[in-house]
Amino acid sequence: MSTATTSKELTEEEALFEYLIRLADDRLILGHRLSEWCGHGPILEEDIALANIALDYIGHAANLYEYAVEIEGEGRHRDDLVYFRNDVEYKNLKITELPKGDFGFTIARQFLFSSYSYYLYQLLSDVEDEQFCGIVKKHFKEVQYHLRHSREWVLRLGDGTEESHERLQNAFDEIWMYIGELFYQDEIDERLQDEGLAVDTESFKADCKEIIIQTLEEATLKVPDFDQYMAEGGRQGLHTEHLGHLLAEMQHLRRSYPDADWE
């Protein structure tokens, strides 16, 4: 159910399937968390912006799942991956499943994830698989916007009032232990990297850190310690206890009527 099979047993298709699922799960789960803001944002413009970003993520996920089931070639529908996997089968990064918290926490997460996504998508745009490449390129502009949007809010909140500064600092301190996993890679990544189908996260780690440090400093925030303990496990299906509750809500209706068509 959970334990990742080693790459030796995996064909290239299987490795790519797993790689796509990982990317898709991150975006689906984070999109879900963002969608929880809908109707509850601090200003109407942010209700729109967050819903928009949520929609981008879920759209990215949909495209990635679709390609994954195509590669798998067993006639599954993308919704099968969304609605009929349990949490130990989900491979998203833990950072994406944490509860939405206050607006500061949401912004801190958005900024960190968007910084990572920006470099990831930039490099994935050169991947040697036309269809995969096409999906990534189509979304890169949105990813750029996500980074801009969240970066601006980091500056506003960090260098805004005393309260906003403190809240955002707490948010970064709280979430920091989850950013190590952004750069996690294992034999699946390595295997695909050899084929030019995956990105080496090490190759942009320094750049990514740089933009994070530079932004936090500009926002007058203290940069937490990059060398502190970092949580991992998401890629093996070893999640926090939050994901199960998220999935219960997300899947309840669909699982209640497995034979029904909802389009």
Binding site: H32, S35, E36, C38, G39, H40, G41, P42, I43, L44, E45, E46, D47, I48, A51, N52, A54, L55, I58, G59, A61, A62, Y65, R78, D79, V82, Y83, D102, F103, L155, R156, L157, D159, G160, T161, E163, S164, R167, E249, M250, H252, L253, R254, Y257, D259, A260, D261, W262, E263
Partner: protein, 314 residues
């Protein structure tokens, strides 16, 4: 006398079908009525996000989730657009939002009903957006330019929402027995509240005559309600759904559907604040507003600092 003359001229412009623009002279009461209507309309978009937003996380397919998320986002956009249009009349967004949060301003009562099943999302798209379109198609010819233009744009998107809603209704009505039961139950719960969306009977609607005289509205509540019924009864029958009204029958002579009497006690109760969800809706909006206070303050303070340092630099 001056004022009387102005009003006469104003009424003549209206009667000629001219469009009134923000800088034009207009009677204070015209302005007030429009602020009331337009801000109510804006609030309805915002509060209307809640019952539908309630199902985003539980949508039964990725496609439906995206459609719903996109729809709710559109509603936020409509709200924003309508608040801006209202500002052309001199009513600031903050003022009208305060009126909503302190309970002075109204919003469409339909959003004081809860969404209890996914079928409600389908039915809201079909019936509630369907009713809104009938109203808004009329308002797109409203005498006040910014309102009319907002309506044209909004109407286009809502037609799309209605189409998506009806498609969902049709899918469920053609689905498993459970889906059929679910969708019929949703129709049963939403039909009457939707009819109430058009407001009281003409004789009980104090503002109607005035709004028609001023070319804001061009049809009465009962006329609008009748066209809604005519269209939607047909659409219900097409997909095999029943309308929960034992008195419903087709009048061959008039070509209209005759329908039963609305429960006006329920209508006035909900308007007064005693609907199933009134208090919760306002509480939710208030909470969002209060929780967002520090964010808005931070944004203002940051903008102030930025401006200051730009000024210093120049």
């Amino acid at each position: 006398m001056e004022k009387e003359n102005n009003n006469t001229t104003f009424q003549e412009r209206i009667d000629k079908g001219e469009t009134i623009e923000p800088k034009d002279q207009m009677p204070e009461r015209y302005r007030q009525q429009l602020i009331r209507m337009m801000s109510q309309h804006a609030h309805s978009e915002i509060v209307g996000m809640l019952p539908e937003g309630n199902w985003i996380t539980r949508a039964p397919s990725l496609r439906r989730k995206m459609i719903l998320l996109s729809k709710v986002q559109d509603e936020a956009g409509h709200g924003l657009y309508l608040y801006s249009a209202t500002e052309t009349l001199g009513a600031s967004r903050q003022e009208v939002i305060d009126d909503l949060l302190n309970g002075h301003a109204k919003y469409s009562s339909i959003f004081n009903y809860p969404t209890l099943s996914w079928a409600d999302i389908a039915v809201i798209g079909w019936l509630v957006d369907g009713a809104a379109i009938i109203n808004q198609t009329m308002l797109a010819r409203s005498s006040y330019g910014p309102y009319a233009r907002a309506m044209v744009r909004i109407c286009k998107e809502e037609s799309f929402h209605k189409k998506q809603g009806y498609e969902m209704v049709a899918t469920m009505a053609d689905g498993t027995p459970e889906q059929q039961e679910m969708i019929q139950d949703a129709v049963n719960r939403w039909w009457w509240p939707t009819l109430m969306m058009f407001g009281p009977h003409d004789e009980d609607s104090p503002n109607s005559a005035e709004l028609i005289k001023w070319g804001v509205k061009s049809k009465t509540n009962d006329e609008l309600r009748q066209s809604f019924v005519d269209r939607h009864v047909q659409e219900a029958h097409t997909v095999g759904l029943e309308i929960p009204d034992p008195d419903l029958k087709f009048n061959e002579e008039t070509g209209h559907w005759v329908f039963g009497e609305i429960d006006w006690d329920e209508f006035w109760n909900v308007v007064k604040g005693n609907g199933p969800m009134n208090r919760q809706r306002i509480n939710t909006r208030r909470e969002a507003h209060e929780n967002g206070k520090w964010v808005r303050e931070a944004a203002e303070e940051y903008a102030r600092k930025q401006k200051l340092s730009e000024e210093k630099a120049s």
